[in-house]
Symmetry: C2
Subunit: 128 residues, 2 copies
């Protein structure tokens, strides 16, 4: 198992292992969110952008392109009237969603355990 292209066991801790690049790709805020946004089926650029509150179009484009390059998402263009571009998960992308979904869930479930003052943005605050 896992002793292919670099001739030795894959290891995310090895600098030269392609794993490192993959981890860098997946262990990324926008990637984790973007892949999650596609879990429920294909979505259009604008819809993803809306879901990922606060993402700039440039960053979203870059993120999606990177995911596409690495075979995690498919980009389908429907040359219809006001142009229609759909992003969807590849099978590989779907599989990658599992650990990422767990990570997102863990964050949501455990956020309250974190030392608060640093994290809680005073503007986005308590219903007091």
């Amino acid at each position: 198992m896992a002793t292919t292209s670099c001739g030795k066991p894959h290891d995310v801790y090895a600098a030269a292992c392609p794993c490192r690049d993959m981890l860098d790709l997946l262990a990324n805020k926008w990637s984790a969110l973007a892949l999650g946004a596609l879990e429920d089926g294909p979505r259009r650029f604008g819809a993803i952008r809306a879901k990922l509150e606060g993402v700039s179009p440039k960053v979203l484009t870059a993120t999606l392109r990177r995911l596409e390059e690495h075979g995690l998402v498919d980009r389908t263009v429907y040359p219809a009237v006001p142009l229609h571009v759909e992003y969807s998960l590849t099978p590989l992308g779907q599989d990658a969603c599992e650990p990422l979904a767990l990570l997102r869930r863990w964050v949501v479930d455990n956020i309250d355990r974190f030392p608060g003052p640093v994290l809680s943005d005073p503007t986005a605050n308590v219903g007091v």
Copy 2:
């Protein structure tokens, strides 16, 4: 569940939710690796540095400090002779390791399914 400090359900997709910051912290290559390096018990700076091949001391310091600030790791200084600093996981950090370990494992287990040419660094290559 999860409707505390910001008065509404936590959501990593919400720009203002503290979850976003936490995800940004955890969904990061060096954080994921550093936390993993501490899974088996406390380690010293030099040991972590050695495990995380290719990390520069500056980046490692920044990463560990950030994790410490957020209550994921503890930093203990033993003012012994050639100075001795140990990093260890807090209970929260230990819990955070689980989803991150799954992510690291997923990468290692699935790296071969990725479109290769893009990923395989020509320098770090096959035993040909």
